[in-house]
Amino acid sequence: MNQLWKMDPNIKKTKNSADSANYPEAIQSPSQFPDEVLEKVLSMLHSHKDRSSVSLVCKDWYNAERWSRTKIFIGNCYSVSPEIVARRFPRIKSVTLKGKPRFSDFNLVPQNWGANIHDWLVMFAKVYPLLEELRLKRMTVSDESLEFLAMSFPGFKALSLLSCDGFSTDGLKSIATHCKKLTELDIQENGIDDVSGSWLSAFPDNFTSLEILNFASLNSEVSFDALERLVSRCKSLKVLKVNKGIGLDQLQRLLVRAPQLMELGTGSFQQELMFRHCMELENAFRNCKNLQILAGLWDASYVYLHVLYPACSSLTFLNLSYATLRSDEFTKLIAHCPNLRCLWVLDTVEDKGLEAVGSCCPLLEEIRVFPAHPFDQDINHGVTESGFLAVSHGCRKLHYVLYFCQQMTNAAVATIVQNCPDFTHFRLCIMNPGQPDYLTDEPMDEAFGAVVKTCTKLQRLAVSGLLTDLTFEYIGKYAKNLETLSVAFAGRSDWGMQCVLGGCPKLRKLEIRDCPFGNAALLSGLKKYESMRSLWMSACNVTMNGCRLLAKEMPRLNVEVMKDEEDDSHVDKVYVYRSVAGPRRDAPPFVLTL
């Protein structure tokens, strides 16, 4: 949907108008295909980017595309309004909406900022009564909205809420009660008011359509009896991710009822089990022949990990981000997983554990290493450059990394990208802000220089450590495919940010915090921001005047400022994004739209 913003609702749709200003090829003769045929062909297009391109060819194609589109993706809910969407697309069945800026995940956006789903739902109920899917990320959703959703769309099938807030388990109860055709309920990492687990019992006894159920991040206990019966009668269940309240013996009973599972999130993996039950659990895993994805494993007790071994050889994605395993424990487990494509792990496994990954998982494409003690910087734990090196050496297909570490060197990163030149996502977080190469004491400029020079397919980059403007010179010059850039505690002057805005032709999202970039840098991107989704700058050197100038020069951008309490002119946070909907009407008092 990256071209949606260009759609000015005032374009007159007259037939055969030679308005080549709006459409590159003014087609004078009628379309060569009947509309129905064109629509049928276009209905096979699924990629948003393809559809956007199609819609720009000519008026006929624009219309055929909009009539045949059933899935809509809106990366910034404020870039467009419900009315505009409803007017353009008459036949939507699936909606994906993203709300707050990503830094809200890290408490940088105050409460009640906005991104409320309700007005959207009201419009959808009017225009899309056949709506089937709703996927929300960083939106505010109330229980009333959930109830409204459940009652308004009789064919509703899939609800996915990721990093949302504002609702409670009562809202989930409405969904379970009223959505008779539900196939997917995926609730992940939300700021939710966990009142009780009774919502699960609200699924009617004759309800059997569920295929995906993820309530791993809910705390309150559900009725196991209700869950077991639900799993028994939903024969198409493919994904089941339970919460901590479900123990090992209960897990065994669920697996026996659903051996067809492809994705499993276990509950708590620590319980006093008689060895007879241990063997039964191991057999249950052995019978899950389709298991590809495994997660959960809270409080994973090493003692019980062996029950997983029979299922490990078919695993493609193993998520251990909640399991504090030591390196020796982890090494034994990973040896059973030769087909892994994706691994998420805690840094408790240390470099030794990562060496084992390099040896055992040659097909690995993605690795994420999270810090078990992110705020305990005095503790000498976690992973270093040698773990990352070991993985890059053994896993040559690696293209996605998220790596939290205590130390790094330029040389190591240069070697890593030599080993794995196909990185598309390179997110390195050296946890101590502004830390140099620990061996040479130099800035980490050459590390990221090596990344952008070698990895020509790079789409997403997050930088850290001691960085001068040179890093940004490199990024601007070499990162031709870069779409998302995250910067923190880096740079020396405006020049750094200017380099990025002057280069990086495909840049869509730029998020910056605690950097010495000021108004000159902000304003150097005047022309660029309309081709981007958004810019976030917090704790930089931007002032109100700079932001006002930007807003004045670029009326199709929303420039939203959150001010510093102490100083009227200094801007604490500014969020800039393109929009066809104009300034938003629901901004809270602490957000000023200029």
Binding site: L108, S217, F275, S301, S493, C540, G546, D564
Partner: protein, 190 residues
Amino acid sequence: MGKAANYENELATELRLGLLGTDHHEPEKQSFPLSLVIKSNKRSSSEMDYNSSDKCEQDSAPPPKAQVVGWPPVRSYWRNALQQQKKTESDVSGMYVKVSMDGAPYLRKIDLRVYNNYPELLKALEAMFKCTIGVYSEREGYSGSDNAPTYEDKDGDWMLVGDVPWNMFVTSCRRLRIMKESEAKGLGCL
């Protein structure tokens, strides 16, 4: 681009809070916007204090490093979930079980997690008690020495070490006892 130049002039003469921009040609020591330093003193900010429970302990401890809001960038949900995990003693400090040997004046304790299989365990027991443990066979139990290793399982029964797979043993063993062979024979025979 005359307009832009005018704006830049305007902004250059403006008073503002923040570090003076450094010339990008001069390699200077990195210094951060004031926000990092300021925030470390803003103890009243609710966003600041991740370790609120540690607040009192910090009075006598050396001053902690400046805690920055939202850094490192880990999702608050995930961080809370991880902190909530309680590990039982057996997981944090190992799986310690008591070991007694008939005739020895005091008991010992060993961590079962350290060993990968029966031979390793038996070797360690031999070294600890300065004894020899015989060779295991399914039919005969332990032969070739005076001693036989036994264990109490979760049901409270005394079992001969070695009959069940290693992993099963580790999860069900409550305590170990090295018996004199004459007594142990009673356990081994059908």
